[in-house]
């Protein structure tokens, strides 16, 4: 069984995100970038399936600037077998929209014929929560999103999904797309010896043009603004005082 894992290079979750002076987007120049945390979870799950003998090969793919190779190396160091880089932009500020990404991934899926695509449930930069679903539609495959547990037997993926107010268990026939949520697993560290070995693992560099996919943006960003500043908090001494304050504020 072969697993394909799309990984995205995003602004690191520790970074204080800042809007560019011209309000066109958030500032990405000089900013620390990392693998999207949910994608790291997807890579971990794929590797665990391989370690359990369920999967035989794990292929990771990223779409973005040349520098995105970094996140592929991280995934290879964690244990993926090989990687595909699809260069689609020169400037990190160029956003490749979910539909373009999904179309490119569909082409990769056609060529690679994986049995399972494990993606993150959303990327923490744009929070679109869309790519996996769009890919499912394009391929005509079954999909299960926000997985917090995954079990594979006889060509069926049993996925526990985190839904509002509880858990839902669904079965999808493979090939399928599963998007991963936070509680699915705790990713391993990319160890130094494995990072060294990862430098020698195969990485194929391609471009969006190679796949004949039109990645021209269809959305226009009108303006990007920072959230309004929060009013200063107040430390209360007791529950009584808290209740009084809340009354005062007219919330209870």
């Amino acid at each position: 069984m072969k697993i394909l894992v799309p990984v995205k290079r995003v602004i690191d979750y520790n970074v204080k995100v800042r809007v560019k002076a011209d309000e066109s987007s958030v500032e990405l120049a000089n900013v620390k970038m990392s693998i999207n945390p949910f994608d790291e979870i997807a890579v971990e799950e794929a590797i665990r399936l391989k370690e359990k003998g369920v999967a035989s090969e794990v292929v990771v793919v990223t779409i973005g600037v040349k520098k995105s190779e970094d996140v592929l190396r991280t995934a290879l160091a964690m244990g993926a077998d090989r990687a595909i880089l699809i260069e689609a932009a020169d400037d990190v500020h160029t956003d490749i929209e979910p539909l373009a990404v999904a179309k490119l991934l569909a082409k990769v899926a056609e060529a690679e014929a994986p049995d399972l695509i494990l993606a993150g449930k959303q990327a923490i930069d744009n929070d679109m929560n869309a790519t996996g679903q769009m890919l499912g539609a394009l391929l005509g495959w079954g999909q299960a999103t926000s997985a917090s547990a995954l079990d594979i037997t006889d060509g069926v993926a049993r996925v526990t999904r985190e839904v509002d107010g509880g858990l839902q268990v669904v079965d999808v026939n493979m090939p399928a797309i599963v998007t991963c949520d936070l509680r699915l697993n705790e990713p391993r560290y990319a160890s130094l010896p494995n990072i060294m070995k990862a430098k020698k693992k195969p990485l194929t560099a391609t471009t969006a043009a190679d796949y004949g996919v039109d990645i021209t943006p269809r959305l226009t960003v009108v303006k990007t603004v920072e959230p309004a500043a929060r009013a200063a908090g107040e430390i209360v001494g007791s529950v009584e005082e808290l209740k009084a304050k809340l009354k005062e504020a007219g919330v209870v």
Partner: protein
């Protein structure tokens, strides 16, 4: 790769052999790596960096004297080094609380002039240097902290790096990775000021015996995006005087770099006496001076960070070599204090160490002392640079800012003109930890509350350092005696850790009426001040997990 065993509870640790192992991807370490490969492309060179990426832990001013870079990569312009802003104007001001007096440039010796220098982000320059190094075949591993030395008999034979996944109590967690031994014919320590392995090496090999103690300052820096109408690219401004007055030595820097940004920084010499002093709050207060406030008004602070700076100069420069390796740059302490410049010397020292190591390896040597490096530093450009200014810092300590600017300027002139000093070589006296006075002898200092526009409380600012430490790991700030912060430091010195730490890591909280010392190590920005200034010298900074710590942008 081969396997060796380490501590009993941990699994086997792999090991890898190199010609040269370099700790730290700062200007010194990267210069050494590049020079080694320029001299002999067949050398196997590895660089370990604790930051999540190269540049993530680099904090400098910085006005760069390009002498080191010119020597390392003469065609750096063609290779698009991120150096865009030449210094065009240079102001030196003496501040009183409302006013400023410009000290004219003419009485300043030529060595103080910034003509021919550039305003740069050393973080970005290091990122570029790392690319140059990788193109030459250097292996660079960011996110890997070198946490231990590997000894072989009496020599340093390598380091351990990349240990991950210990639990808070030190036990082995589910995702534990043992890390790796990286062994080298020579190990070069480019850890920057107060390096954790450098400190061990200096003690083990008595490298500072008979010398003056090393002296330090704490440098804090903010990056501001300001109104383009007020921005004057290329302008450099330094101030002394207010708000520190007689409480402490130090001063500010303000550099107008490209893209409408200014680097605003403040350095407080760590030999201050009043335990109630808060270097951080002095910095915040400083920004309300009209000469700064007018400039920053309407602007936005986009990043914050802090780092100690070595100030001991020639009198404190340790022996640089030990069996199996050498100290580079600020691991030894090569800052020219009145020029507040150390990057050029860091780079020159990396080059010199690489040259000595390449020769030694070509002669089939390994694990011995690179004495040619020591000679090249002391008798070469670095020694020259430091010698001319060796008395400025002791004069500051003795006479205070204004008088010593005059005396120091005079001393630098005589050095510049005649190559000698009327003072001979002055001593530094005690170390910075011993300098602190007892709380009973000093008055508390009340600082104005930050307004959230020009000045910020510590924790808000720390969030602009993007620092992070995995919570389930042992605290990397080690107390030799856990009772000392309360029994000694609080009782005698009002526990100054609460104030000198620029990230608010240390707190004394009352629990049921009993004071308790709390270490919020997650906030640490790796400045190393606690390791320097704790009056009881009870705190040792060790490396947390690789990749943890600040994520500085273009610092």
């Amino acid at each position: 790769m081969s396997q060796t065993s380490n501590e009993t509870d941990a699994p086997l640790r792999e090991s890898m052999d190199y010609d040269v192992v370099i700790v730290g991807a700062g200007p010194s370490g990267l210069s050494a790596a590049i020079r080694l490969k320029q001299l002999d492309p067949s050398l196997e060179v590895v660089v370990l960096e604790k930051g999540s990426e190269v540049g993530a832990h680099i904090l400098s001013g910085a006005v760069l004297d390009p002498i080191g870079l010119d020597r390392l990569i003469p065609d750096w312009k063609e290779k698009s080094a991120p150096i865009k802003t030449a210094v065009t104007e240079d102001h030196f001001l003496f501040l009183t609380d409302k006013r400023s007096v410009r000290i004219p440039n003419w009485p300043m010796p030529k060595l103080m002039s910034n003509h021919g220098n550039y305003i740069v982000s050393m973080g970005n320059l290091c990122r570029w240097l790392a690319e140059q190094a990788e193109e030459l075949g250097v292996e660079i591993f960011p996110g890997m902290a070198a946490s231990e030395l590997v000894m072989e008999g009496d020599r340093v034979a390598g380091v351990v790096a990349g240990e991950f996944g210990r639990e808070a109590d030190g036990s082995i967690g589910a995702n534990y990775e043992a890390g790796m031994e990286l062994r080298g014919k020579y190990v070069l320590l480019g850890e920057g000021v107060r390096g954790s392995l450098s400190k061990v090496v200096m003690e083990k090999f008595n490298l500072s015996d008979g010398l003056d103690p090393q002296k330090f300052g704490l440098g804090m820096k903010e990056i501001w995006e300001i109104d383009p109408a007020k921005h004057k690219e290329g302008t450099v401004q330094h101030t002394m005087g207010w708000p520190l007055g007689s409480n402490a030595g130090g001063g500010s820097f303000l550099y107008h770099i490209e893209n409408n940004q200014v680097y605003v920084g403040f350095v407080v010499h760590l030999n201050y006496k009043n335990p109630y002093l808060s270097p951080y709050m002095e910095f915040q207060r400083f920004k309300h001076h009209p000469v700064v406030a007018d400039l920053l008004e309407g602007g936005k602070r986009v990043a914050y960070g802090a780092r100690a700076i070595s100030e001991g100069g020639l009198q404190s420069l340790p022996k640089l070599t030990f069996p199996g390796g050498a100290l580079l740059g600020c691991s030894a302490g090569m800052v020219n204090v009145p020029r507040i410049k150390g990057n050029h010397n860091a780079m020159l020292s990396g080059i010199a160490a690489a040259e000595a190591a390449a020769v030694a390896i070509s002669e089939g040597r390994e694990g011995d002392e690179l004495s040619d490096y020591e000679i090249a530093v002391r008798d070469g450009d670095i020694g020259d640079d430091l010698k001319k200014v060796r008395n400025v810092k002791p004069l500051w300590a003795k006479w205070g800012a204004l008088a010593s600017t005059v005396l120091g300027g005079f001393d630098m002139w005589t050095n510049f003109l005649f190559g000698l000093s009327v003072f001979g070589t002055l001593k530094h006296g005690e170390n910075d930890a011993q300098a602190i006075g007892e709380a009973k002898d000093y008055a508390e200092i009340t600082y104005p509350k930050p307004d959230g526009i020009l000045s910020f409380d510590r924790l808000t600012n720390v969030s602009f350092a993007a620092t992070n430490h995995e919570e389930s790991q042992p605290c990397h700030l080690k107390l030799a005696d856990p009772s000392v912060p309360i029994t000694v430091n609080l009782a005698k010195y009002a526990e100054p850790a609460q104030r000198y730490c620029p990230a608010g890591v240390y707190e004394v909280v009352e629990k049921a009426g009993v004071p308790e010392f709390v270490i919020n190590f997650q906030n640490c920005v790796h400045c190393k001040t606690c390791d320097i200034k704790d009056p009881s010298q009870n705190i040792t900074w060790t490396t947390p997990q690789g990749g943890d710590g600040p994520n500085y942008p273009n610092m």
